[in-house]
């Protein structure tokens, strides 16, 4: 009994710790730390999506940044509306339902749905592609989307981009803007986390993993790859869209340069280093994505001239070294660390509550 409870507690521990830390930081941190950890929430949301697609379903995507781009532009255009865009001299075509401006919070579910739809449409032809071809297709998306955003200037503001109105705490609540943005981002991330958890531990997650590990066997067992693979794309891009909307609100500016190909590449690297196939991996990946570039420029622990002149070299080498040391990512490493404990608890659980003693050879 105790062993079982202990096992469950161990499973919930990361969640509990995260919640406590999030609240603690929210209450005590200064403006800049709040800002930094808001970005962590945003990338956490994005990486949850990428994790489901690449980790649980095994489809390598080099285009996650493109879906964030879509979400960000949806949010920007929705928040500004026709009047806002007109200030920049941009007039979207009449048939486009741009609206007259929306409260930023509401653009997040809007971006979620619209980007999910785009992801779904992308997923359908992508069924024919696998491995390298799929990587190329997602890569092509990441390259093309900024160019498309630049071309359709009347809707997106083109290369010059658009400023969103600076965020302000809504409804006159008495908390600072940065704090509000922090809680907004973490609130969205929490909702997405729960959604992700439900999907992953349920039938959908099992189907995804079955397709990832043994697609042929899965198909033979009645799991339709077409349905679940497309679903994976739709869900992961919806998450990216929501994250993109949050990013647009946080940065208060979007233009094609804010979503370069390097974003997609680094998001993939982050989720792998954080730990594929585990939800906490997405959190580690987000922490890494947010803090490693800043600290590669100013290494806090080790100071060397190299760092200031060539932060990229430090960053690249670190990526490689982490892949050597922790191929399962940080989440995998933590799981390994706790493995003796979980194994012990599982054994205790089993010996205490035998289901059926398997008969020994030679005994009655």
């Amino acid at each position: 009994m105790i062993a079982r409870a202990a096992l469950i507690a161990l499973r919930l521990l990361p969640v509990a710790v995260t919640v406590v830390l999030v609240v603690l930081i929210g209450q005590r941190a200064g403006e800049f730390r709040l800002d930094e950890f808001t970005y962590v929430a945003i990338y956490f949301a994005a990486l949850l999506g990428l994790n489901m697609l690449t980790g649980y379903n095994g489809q390598i995507s080099l285009g996650h940044g493109a879906f964030m781009c879509i979400g960000a532009y949806v949010a920007a255009v929705a928040v500004l509306g026709r009047p806002g865009l007109a200030l920049y001299g941009h007039h979207p075509p009449d048939w486009l339902p741009v609206g007259d401006g929306m409260r930023p919070v509401f653009t997040i579910p809007l971006a979620f749905v619209l980007t999910g739809a785009v992801g779904f449409l992308f997923g359908i032809p992508a069924l024919r592609l696998a491995g390298v071809s799929l990587a190329l297709a997602t890569f092509a998306m990441a390259v093309s989307l900024p160019a498309i955003a630049k071309k359709f200037e009347n809707v997106t503001g083109g290369g010059g981009g658009v400023n969103l109105p600076l965020p302000h705490t809504p409804f006159g609540w008495d908390i600072s803007t940065k704090r509000w943005l922090y809680y907004e981002a973490w609130g969205v991330a929490a909702v997405l986390f729960v959604l992700s958890w439900l999907l992953v531990r349920g039938r959908v997650g099992r189907a995804w993993r079955a397709i990832r590990d043994r697609e042929v066997a899965a198909t033979a067992s009645g799991v339709s790859p077409a349905v679940y693979k497309t679903l994976a794309f739709a869900v992961s891009s919806a998450f990216a869209g929501a994250a993109g909307a949050l990013l647009a609100i946080q940065v208060s500016y979007v233009n094609p340069d804010t979503f370069p190909i390097s974003l997609s590449v680094l998001l993939l690297a982050s989720v792998v280093i954080g730990g594929l196939g585990s939800l906490s991996g997405a959190l580690f990946g987000a922490l890494l994505y947010e803090f490693l570039p800043i600290y590669a420029q100013e290494p806090p622990l080790v100071h060397f001239a190299f760092g200031k002149q060539a932060p990229a070299v430090v960053f690249g080498v670190l990526l490689i070294l982490i892949m050597y040391a922790l191929p399962g990512g940080f989440a995998g490493a933590i799981r390994r660390m706790f493995a003796p404990l979980t194994r012990f608890l599982r054994e205790r659980q089993n010996t205490r509550e035998p289901i059926l003693e398997p008969a020994r050879r030679g005994e009655a």
Binding site: I60, P125, L129, A140, I148, K151, A269, V313, G316
Partner: protein
């Protein structure tokens, strides 16, 4: 839009073939590594840039072109060999995604290293071909482009001969297809992989030295070319050298024609449109133009 004239049409095509030859050269290197080790080396372009800078440095120190060229190829081969043994070997047997991340890390690191060592100011790079342009029926064809094109074709030919008719080539193919059986037959699989990377690095160096006279030398020279090369390699069939060349040339011409003759596409959407067309081809024929159809055995 400017009126259509035949000379200009052919000019667009020849220019497209010229840039396509550069994409094809880098695509060849990608294909080689993929055939040898089943890995897409995202750092291929940066390795090519780095070795091209080495060639530049050698020439700055007084070495004439051809000795510098050959020496660079040797250095590139050694570098590629070393990278496979030192950087890739520890993660050889890990899942594909891990190796992808390692090559991405290499891309970032080598790009930073190139900029740090040589600075980001643009530099001119010598060409072995005469710096002249001939006029053929109204179409200007630069000898540099002709030379690049010929080198590209020659490289494919050399590779084909190498894999088909030499023992080493056969051993490399065997090691790629069935490492276990090859080991039993006495093939040193580890060395074959390393040689594959070395050869690919040398190919990359050739691509860089062919490209540099026209694109000029700067640390980010190959970043965008890698996108085209990747697309070309996959379009052609990721394990087919001939496919890489066909893919590269096709892509070069397609981008030019789309930009010039399709008003909606204009200059801004040339690359996205070309990529979209490519992907449509891939959806219809997932193994690429010359690739082998993957047969899944249950």
């Amino acid at each position: 839009m400017l009126a259509f004239t035949w000379p200009e049409f052919f000019q667009q095509i020849t220019s497209g073939l010229a840039s396509g030859a550069i994409y094809a050269s880098l695509a060849l290197a990608l294909v080689l590594i993929y055939r040898a080790t089943d890995v897409i080396n995202f750092a291929q372009g940066e390795m090519a840039t780095f070795t091209t800078y080495i060639a530049w440095m050698l020439m700055q120190h007084g070495l004439p072109y051809w000795p510098a060229f050959v020496l660079t190829l040797v250095i590139a081969f050694a570098g590629g060999f070393a990278i496979e043994r030192v950087v890739i070997r520890p993660v050889e047997n890990r899942p594909e995604i891990v190796i992808v991340i390692v090559t991405i890390g290499m891309l970032i690191a080598i790009n930073g290293l190139t900029g740090w060592i040589w600075g980001s100011e643009v530099k001119a790079f010598d060409s072995p071909f005469p710096n002249r342009t001939v006029d053929v029926a109204g179409v200007a064809i630069s000898l540099q482009d002709v030379g690049t094109f010929c080198v590209c074709l020659a490289t494919v030919l050399v590779l084909w001969l190498f894999f088909r008719f030499t023992t080493l080539g056969l051993a490399m193919r065997a090691a790629a297809v069935n490492p276990g059986a090859s080991r039993l037959l006495g093939v040193r699989v580890g060395w074959m992989l390393a040689i594959g990377w070395g050869l690919a690095a040398a190919l990359g160096a050739v691509a860089g030295m062919m490209a540099a006279p026209t694109t000029f030398l700067d640390p980010n020279m190959m970043l965008v070319i890698l996108i085209y090369a990747f697309a070309a390699a996959v379009l052609g069939g990721i394990d087919s050298p001939v496919g890489a060349v066909v893919g590269g040339l096709t892509l070069g011409v397609l981008v030019n024609l789309l930009g010039r003759y399709v008003a909606f596409v204009g200059e801004e959407l040339r690359l996205p449109t070309a990529l979209a067309i490519l992907l449509t081809v891939l959806v219809i024929r997932p193994q690429g133009l010359f690739g082998h159809a993957v047969v899944r055995r249950v």
